[in-house]
Symmetry: C2
Subunit: 154 residues, 2 copies
């Protein structure tokens, strides 16, 4: 693997990770009406640490393969939408618009997997958990939005 | 040019542009002590519209060229840092941390230009205004931070 490439892709993930560190859930999130299948708080940083390392690894692994342009375009799209989601959800507390952003992120991740499939099996499979997590996060975002959309914003 | 690629890269820019639309400067920004060389408000959306179109064009133009991996890695890094800056500056109003993010963005843009130079002259030159603008934005962020760092946060 090309380590400088890995570091650059990991730096991009670092920008997305920073949103999670600076826009903390806090009391507002604790008080929201959430479904029983909401993951415990400790799982989020654990999951994202794995996902970001996997994403940077997958990108660095395929970047030098000829024909990787769609994979890298969708990779750029997913990291931008990923970075946008947290400030909309936890910063502005706009649950509906956050769901739209998650929809864009989901499309980008499906596109990324579609582009990775013919390039490299390991890069593809290590990115599958990301789609699972984003789908789960989308269902959670939708559920929280439906349960709280008539509540007075705090 | 590969139009689907252009659309994907433009969608990534759309995520960054959304931060500017949803985290509005407002009264807080108006009241900040700013240097005389602060651009008028109308210039920001005009400049960014050009810069995002140019960025998506440059990426789509070089993406299919063999050896474009560093350009696309730095492209992904710059769009993530770009998406992060506005929520930190206008959302959290943390001028110092925003300057750190802009430093990361600046490094990514220099890396992008370094990688574009041997690939394609047009992609390189159409990206140069982005470095000029980010450098200028960095100077502006630094100046506003120095002028207001002892003010009581609103």
């Amino acid at each position: 693997m090309d380590w400088p490439l890995f570091i650059i892709f990991l730096a991009a993930c670092g920008a997305a990770a920073t949103t999670g560190a600076v826009f903390q859930p806090g009391d507002w999130y604790k008080r929201l009406d959430k479904p029983v299948w909401t993951p415990p708080d400790w799982l989020f940083p654990v999951a994202w640490t794995f996902l970001y390392l996997a994403l940077a690894f997958a990108a660095a692994r395929v970047a030098t393969i000829p024909g990787a342009h769609y994979a890298l375009a969708f990779w750029a799209m997913q990291i931008a939408f990923n970075t946008l989601w947290t400030p909309i959800f936890f910063g502005l507390r706009r649950l509906g618009p956050a769901l739209v952003v998650l929809g864009g992120l989901w499309v980008a991740v499906v596109g990324l997997l579609w582009a990775l499939w013919p390039l490299d099996a390991l890069a593809f499979w290590i990115t599958v958990p990301y789609l699972v997590w984003v789908s789960y996060a989308g269902a959670l975002n939708a559920s929280i939005w439906l349960r709280n959309r008539h509540a007075v914003p705090a």
